[in-house]
């Protein structure tokens, strides 16, 4: 059975995870997420959640707001 899938905003800090899917109806939001590269099967680690969400993908770090972080669904590994 797969481990639980949750939005990135709920992920524990410094736990390794993989992006499972993106959930948004907003095209502009989807474009932003594509630009960041938070696409399915990508390894992702949350570094901090306050005052903004900061996560790492590969060698890059991104700061995003809660709205964006809630669109990225991840699975802890």
């Amino acid at each position: 059975m797969d481990k639980k899938i949750m939005p990135l905003s709920k992920l524990d800090i410094n736990k390794k995870a993989k992006v499972s899917h993106i959930k948004t109806e907003d095209k502009a939001m989807l474009q932003r997420i594509i630009a960041i590269g938070a696409l399915p099967n990508t390894d992702i680690t949350l570094i901090q959640r306050f005052p903004s969400f900061v996560f790492q993908i590969g060698k890059s770090q991104f700061a995003v707001d809660k709205e964006l972080a809630s669109c990225i669904y991840v699975r802890q590994i």
Binding site: V64, D65, E67
Partner: protein
């Protein structure tokens, strides 16, 4: 490059659609037909309009293919393509690149500390104190300005040109244009070279250091939540911080903000409540011996900044701002880069403003000669007296429009001659900071935001600045505050 087949249902696959569209593109686009087809499938508006214009005959058929393909995929095509590309990149990287195991370097530790509010906010205050107050305010606006003004201009340039002008220009009225109280040499050159140049040069040096160290995105992420309340995202810290150098330049930089709504809010706040370095310099000089008045001034300006931002974000329609930014690694700035950037910015600034300084001198000269200025100064005496200032201060406000710092500098002279008390100083500094932007910024507002918005912002500021100063004066006086 090797052509790659995209996965998906064969008969309606993206690959098939690309091929079909490619065959329908008959015009020359500088890009390959394949690139154009892929961009069309990703719903790139610019390319769509271009194709609509160039391939009129086939456009409807192309649109049908795109519509049909979209039906066969659960996600937008751009998303499907991004996943395909990502898989390809992973495949290549996996074969040829080996990654070291992740460990947290000292830089990374510092980076995380700067992003943690507990350490990051005190660090931010320290950066602002050392950078803006100590370096730009004290070193730039006082030490360097004093040296240039008293040791160069007052000693050599002004006396020399006064003697020279008296000798070669026979008419007193024309002499005034060059060496009068607001003359080209005595005011325009002196302000431009001895006051504005050192302050902006020092500010841009500080800003370039900040920029090249990678600190700005960390500042943006710290401040995003606060800025969201005033309708902006963390990204707007870049024009806002730049506004402390030159709000005119910062207004141009609001182009980096993604929505029109954010650009309008940022333009308004820059014009209203962000004092530029030239103003800051003079205000610091005015209030340096009166820390309580300085505190009142800073508190009121910050309050107005947040209040007006909050109200504007409630009134203006449009999408809420979204924040996302890459956080680059922290770096030690390269000296040559910083120097080149500072030089280019100072040069831009100077070429842009020097003509305006000259024009301001000429306009003031004409205005004084024809007595139009006396009329305007008299008109302003009413509101100026209403906020509890001596009527002579109206001169500072009128000239303030030609350059915001002329106004502040005029106030400085006024204070040197007839002492203003602490409340008057605080009220005057608040009014001048909020008052109409200088003529350069006024023109930039119109250029960037259009006639209606640009003019609207200015009229609002004209009324609002005096209202705030009026209220502040009444509050301070009725509370019998002594500053």
């Amino acid at each position: 490059m090797e052509k790659r087949d995209y996965k998906g249902p064969i008969e309606n696959s993206i690959e098939m659609a690309i091929e079909k569209i490619e065959n329908l593109l008959k015009s020359d686009y500088y890009l390959s037909g394949r690139s154009i087809a892929i961009l069309l499938l990703q719903e790139d508006e610019e390319i769509r309009n271009l194709v609509k214009e160039k391939d009129v005959a086939n456009f409807d058929r192309i649109e049908d293919i795109i519509k049909d393909t979209k039906l066969h995929y659960a996600n937008p095509i751009s998303y499907e393509l991004a996943i395909e590309r990502q898989d390809e990149v992973k495949d290549i990287l996996g074969r040829y690149v080996k990654f070291e195991k992740d460990r947290i370097s000292p830089q990374e530790k510092l980076s995380r500390a700067l992003m943690n509010p507990l350490f990051g906010i005190p660090a931010l205050l320290l950066v602002l104190y050392l950078g803006l107050y100590k370096f730009v305010g004290q070193f730039g606006a006082e030490t360097v300005v004093n040296f240039l003004e008293s040791s160069i201009f007052d000693k050599y340039v002004t006396p020399f040109s006064t003697v020279l002008a008296a000798r070669i220009i026979p008419w007193i009225a024309l002499q005034d244009l060059f060496i009068g109280e607001y003359g080209i040499v005595t005011m325009a050159f002196r302000y431009a070279f001895a006051i504005i140049l050192p302050i902006t040069a020092v500010f841009f040096l500080f800003f370039s250091l900040l920029e090249d160290s990678g600190y700005l995105p960390r500042l943006a992420m710290l401040i995003d939540r606060t800025f969201k309340k005033i309708g902006l995202s963390g990204r707007a810290v870049i024009p806002m911080v730049l506004g402390f150098g030159c709000a005119t330049m910062a207004t141009m930089v609001t182009r980096i903000l993604p929505t029109k709504r954010e650009r309008i809010i940022a333009t308004l706040l820059l014009a209203l409540a962000v004092p530029c370095s030239a103003q800051l310099g003079v205000i610091m000089a005015l209030l340096q011996h009166n820390p309580k008045a300085l505190l009142v001034w800073a508190g009121v300006i910050l309050f107005i900044f947040l209040l007006v931002g909050y109200l504007t974000s409630k009134i203006l329609p449009g999408e809420r701002p979204s924040f996302y930014m890459e956080i680059p690694p922290l770096r030690i700035p390269s000296l040559s880069n910083v120097m080149i950037k500072t030089y280019v910015r100072v040069k831009w600034y100077f070429l842009e403003i020097m003509p305006l300084f000259l024009w301001a001198s000429v306009l003031i000269w004409i205005g004084r000669l024809t007595r139009v200025f006396d009329l305007l100064i008299n008109l302003l005496k009413g509101p100026v007296s209403a906020i509890g200032l001596p009527p002579e201060a109206s001169k500072a406000f009128l000239f303030g429009f030609f350059r915001r710092d002329y106004g502040a500098a005029g106030l400085y002279d006024l204070n040197a001659h007839n002492k203003l008390d602490g409340v008057q100083l605080a009220v005057a500094c608040v009014a001048l900071t909020l008052f109409l932007p200088c003529i350069a910024q006024f023109l930039m507002n119109i250029k960037e935001r259009g006639w209606k918005t640009g003019l609207g912002i200015s009229v609002f500021i004209l009324v609002f600045s005096f209202s705030v100063a009026y209220a502040l004066n009444i509050i301070l006086r009725s509370l019998v505050v002594v500053l």
